[in-house]
Structures are given as structure tokens and as C-alpha cells.
Amino acid sequence: MKARFGITALVAALLFFAGYAALFIAPDESTMHEIQRVFYFHVALWSAMYTALTIAFVANIAWLATRQPRWDWLGVSAVEVGVVSCTGGLITGVLWGKPAWGIWWTWDARLTTAFLLWLLYIAYLLLRGLLEDPQRRATLSAVFGIFAFLDAPLVYASNRLWRTQHPAPVVFGGDNSGLDPVMGKVLMVCIFALLPVMILLLVDRYRLERMRHEVDELRLAVESGAARPNSAVTKGAI
């Protein structure tokens, strides 16, 4: 309990520091001035999202390979965290885009991929909600999750290929825009501050899923009148 509080406090402190850095330490950007500071969290949210979705992909494969329930719990938790990060990234992108470049949205490769991933993983969560049998739910959503993850590079590639044929002004700093070294450092701070936040959310969600599973097990045990099954929770193991 105390360890949890300590960790949470540490992560919160890190987050505040990152926020402070983004707002006050980072130098002013020449064209966009203040609004540009959203960029630090915008990119940090993307990296949190990709990390979460990669974890989900690994968890999906691990579930299919081993059938251990914890991979299913990890999978759904990672996807939820990924979707939340993605939502944040999309919103910050829109907020940044309008004042900075006068447009709400653009179909460049990264944004398009992120948006499609958002749709795909919301579909994943909807699918889980509509499948009732727990075994089947875990297996089928894992299959879909794998398909969704495989689609991401294809979305990116198709967008890039399209861009080579239909060139358009590049926004959101492009891919190779040079970054002031201090800005670069602040960006790193923000990315590495947001990652622990994501991990905390992930762990909490994972524990929630595990507890749901335990409740279902106990309910089944009570209904069939048998003795209490071994509970991983009571043993304190993950």
C-alpha cells in the first residue's frame, strides 16, 4: 500500500516536472509561440500509445500460445490505455493544428495511422463487449488484435505511397524537422514522464481485470457448491 502511494507520488512529481519543463524551460518557438508547447505532450502521447499497443500485440500472441489468463488481462488493459493515449494524441493534435496552421486535421501518414488505430482498437473493445464466453472472448479478440496491429504499418505505407503521388504541404513539423537541443531534451523528459503514467494505468486496469476474473471464479465455485478454488489474489502473486 505504502509502496503504491510512493510510486504514484513519484510519477505525479515526474509529470509535474515535465509539465513545468514544457511550459517554462523549453525555449519559445519562433512561429507558433506558446501553442507549440502542446507538441511535447502530443508526441509523448503518441509514444505512450504505440508502446501500449505493442504490449497488447505481444499479449495477444502470448495468450494464443500459452492460454494463461493473465495475457488476456494484459491485452485488454494495454488496449484500453492505448486507446486513451490515442484519444489524447488526437485531441492535442487538433488543438495544436488549428491555431498553428489553420487546419483542424490533415491526412498525413502518422495522423492517419493513429486515427485508424484508434478506430480499430475501439472496435476491439466493442468486440470484447459483445462476446460473452470468456474463453472465446479472449481468443477471438486476440486474433482481431493481431490483425489490427498488422494493419498499422500497411496504413502508414499506403499513406506514404499516396503522398509521393499527391504531394501536399507537410504540417506538424514533418518527419525530419530539426529540433533545438533544449527542445529535444524537454521532449524526452515528457515522453519518459508519460510512460510511467501509462504503466500505472495499465497495472491498475490489469488488477481490475484480474479481480473480475477472481470474482467470476468464486461465483462459479459457490454456485456449484464446491470448495473455494486456489486464488492467485490471496496468494499475492500475479
Binding site: A65, T66, R67, Q68, Q135, E217, L220, S224, G225, A226
Partner: protein, 225 residues
Amino acid sequence: MALRGVSLQIAPGEFVALLGANGAGKTTLLRIAALLMTPTSGYVVFPGLAQVSDGPGRNDTEVVYGNPKPSIGMVGHSTLLYDELSAAENLEFFARLYDLADARARIAHALDACGLATRSGSLVRTFSRGMRQRLAIARALLHGPRMLLLDEPAAGLDRQGLDWLGATLARLRDAGVTVIMSTHARNESLDLATRAVSLAGGRVERDSGRGGDPRPLLAALRSED
């Protein structure tokens, strides 16, 4: 999680009556034996065919020296037939899937045996419940399985159908086919049983055992209302 700690050994040629109330796990057990479901823990072994279906961690049926699927036939709650195909077309399709050598002869024989030879060209959609059940059993037996699994086969059958079921099962028993038949109420085919196993709450409650007498357990069954 319908079954807990079920461990059964069934010898070839046994006629097992699987008893228990609805929801006791009979269907789950049959589906696992049919290799339709993989148990979350545990395994299914067919000695002589040496096929092991592993539980956790793996979903494949590990082939050691042979595929047990051609030896298994199942009659479930549903007919497992295509309504928009004729009786003959259904049997032809499954004959091809099972790669049967003398398909035509087998199909003709099967249709004769279940009394549907004159309706072989009619769509299954037009059949009565009894006719469908007969065709379903014919389909399950088409490839000559050594084990037949039946899930409540007497349900919804009329007098004629029940007689036919009893005669067919008797023939199978005499031919040495292993039969596992589940039911939750009394029916005459149970007289053929050599063993009775009752499930309750996903567990084996009582087992008359190999070579034992199934009649006390069977007698305890209610009659079909």
C-alpha cells in the same frame, strides 16, 4: 467452466449412458470427447489411435500415430445437416470430406437403413423432426466410426423414431461400436447400456464402472413426461 475434475476411462464396445440434469456438463463432456472442445486443463486419449489432445498451452491435437477423427461420430442437439441440400447431397458432401472409398454404396445403404431412400432427393428443409434425426444419425455413422456420441438423441422423437433409434443402437452395440449417450430422462434405448455415469454440477457423481451394473443408476432416472 462446466466440468471439474472429470476423469473417465471407457473401453471399446462399452455402451455408456451419461446421465444428469440439464446443465450438469453432459454436453460439454461429449463435445470434448468429440474433439470439438479443448479442455482448459486435462487431456483426451484414444489408446490404439494414440491421439492426445493437450489442454493448457496448446490447442493442436498432437498426432502420434493416427487421426482419431474418422473414428468419431456425433449426433448433437442440432441436426448438423444443411437444410438447403437434399438428403443425398448432404451425405455425398460428408462422404467426400471423410474421403470414403465406396461412397455411393455407403450412401445408398445409409438411406435405406434410415428409410429415406425414397426421399433422397428432397431438401432436408422439408423433412419432419423424426426424419431429420434419422438422417443426422445416418450422417454420423456414414464413415463407420468406432465411437458414436449422442446428445439427447431421443428428444422429440415419435414412437416410430424411438423404435428405429433403439434398433440402430442395438445393431451398433452388437457390432462392437463404443457408444456414449447422454440423456436426462428415461428412454428405452437405455436398456442397452452396459454402464451408467451420472454427472452433477460438473462432477462425476456416480459411475457403475466397467463390468458393473448400470441398472440401479438407470432406475433412478425420472420418466420422460
